[in-house]
Amino acid sequence: MIRVILPAHLRTLARVEGEVKLELEGQATQRSVLDSLEARFPVLAGTIRDHGTQRRRPFLRFFACEKDLSHELPDAPLPESVASGREPFLIVGAIAGG
């Protein structure tokens, strides 16, 4: 089970409160987590990754276990503590703008 914490605007859009819990088959990677998240909440498609390139949107970052994973490859395995659900995978909106 993977725990995902969304930024507030995306929780509103997906109409969820608190953490999202995903059951994943296969290895936990950024791509598999986001694929699973978008399959469960289709409205989030395009809001985290660009529809065309599938790249992370520039003002979003990925964190887990107090580390910035934003520049990890999308198919790199996530830390074991994230894959096991002990630690959440955080999608964080950049603190920018006014």
Binding site: P7, H9, L10, L13, V43, A45, G46, T47, I48, D50, H51, G52, R57, F59, L60, G93, A94, A96, G97
Partner: protein
């Protein structure tokens, strides 16, 4: 009794303002989609409760929302705007070529006949259409593929397709306007396009007779006379009587710069603009908020000021932030970058603010409900 519903898009959400036909007391509902930029929302002319909204964010990209109950509830529909084929390149600010990249939807134009069909004008400039109520979107690639795309360039606000006019008399005729490329016309429901910019002038354009390269700010038509078009160009107010070429009708306006242009609901030669000081200031001249009206289709303009601030006012009125209702007398509405939405229930003779303190207003549309 008739009712009026004013749909307001702002930098931080959407608001729906409603009144009865007297247009004196207003209910304010919102914000919807708080914190998101709502570039535009508009209702279907054949189903007044079917609304579409463009919800965007620098963080999270594009969302399209749809309401089937006049804005009481909303649900997101598809947000996948993918250019047809290889996107190609357009002119960049520095003169180099730059890849086409989707950024946001500026304008949504519901079909005149089918509530499930809606057009979307996007940045980087292209026209999309949905025929299933927003569940899927397809580009009409003939516009971007017209051949002049590598000469299109972004204006200061981006390279946006911001105006879509559907001809009510000629099926399949569509006009669109792009900053900074110009106006294009299709006579086959968007399959093929041609630029109609003859007579436009753009300072500093190397070829004064270029086919494209014009910073059109908005265009308007009256549904009873769709062969006549009006335009607020970056410089000058223009008029076309043949849907092909343009002549200047700025006349005695205090400045020739501005964004919106609208036509009176019952008088095809009565038009409204809001002159703005340019080129770099982009606020009202002399600190006075003045709507200018021409009852002669241009050239002769009168300032409408009753109820509007006439000192120390330095807001702007953006291109999609003015609209009219179809009551008699015609109501005129506009929103400012200072968050005011003004209404006139007497065709512009006098104005009152419906609200004074919304976020900066991006768009205003009006529905007249019976």
């Amino acid at each position: 009794m008739s009712k009026v519903r004013v749909l307001v898009g702002t930098r931080k959400g959407a608001f729906i303002l409603t009144s009865d036909g007297r247009r004196q007391r207003w209910d304010v509902d919102g914000p919807h989609f708080g914190g998101w930029e709502i570039y535009h929302l508009k209702g279907s002319p054949v189903d007044c409760d079917r609304l579409y909204a463009s919800q965007t964010s620098g963080w999270f990209g594009q969302v399209i929302q749809r309401s089937n109950d006049g804005g009481k509830t909303w649900a997101p529909v598809d947000n996948k705007f993918v250019y047809d084929g290889v996107p190609g390149t357009h002119l960049w600010y520095d003169g180099t070529q730059h890849p086409w990249e989707f950024k946001r939807v500026w304008h949504l134009e519901p079909s005149l006949t089918d509530p499930d069909t809606v057009y979307a004008g996007v940045e980087d400039a292209a026209l999309f259409r949905s025929t299933d109520g927003g569940k899927t979107w397809q580009e009409l690639p003939g516009l971007r593929g017209h051949g002049s795309g590598p000469q299109w360039a972004p204006g200061a606000g981006g390279m946006c397709l911001h105006s879509i006019l559907l001809d009510p008399n000629v099926p399949g005729r569509i006009f669109v306007a792009i900053s900074a490329a110009g106006v294009f016309r299709s006579d086959d429901a968007g399959k093929t396009w041609r630029p109609i910019n003859r007579g436009l002038k753009s300072q500093y354009l190397p070829d004064p007779n270029a086919e494209v390269g014009y910073c059109v700010h908005s265009i308007a038509m009256h549904p009873s006379r769709p062969g006549v078009l009006f335009m607020q160009l970056h410089w000058d107010v223009m008029r076309s009587d043949d849907g092909e070429s343009w002549k200047e009708v700025s006349g005695n306006l205090p400045t020739d710069f501005g964004y919106p242009i609208e036509v009176h609901a019952h008088e095809p030669d009565t038009i409204y603009v809001v002159p703005i000081k340019s080129d770099s200031e982009h606020y009202l001249p002399e600190g006075k908020l003045r709507v200018y009206r021409s009852r002669t289709g241009g050239n002769e303009w009168e300032a409408l000021t009753k109820g509007l601030p006439q000192r120390d006012c330095y807001v702007n009125v953006l291109r999609d932030a003015m609209a009219v209702d179809s009551l008699d007398p015609c109501g005129v509405y506009f929103g400012t970058t200072g968050g005011q939405v003004y209404a006139s229930a007497d065709a512009g003779e006098s104005w009152v603010p419906i609200v004074r303190d919304l976020p900066s207003v991006l768009s205003v549309e009006v529905q007249t409900l019976s």
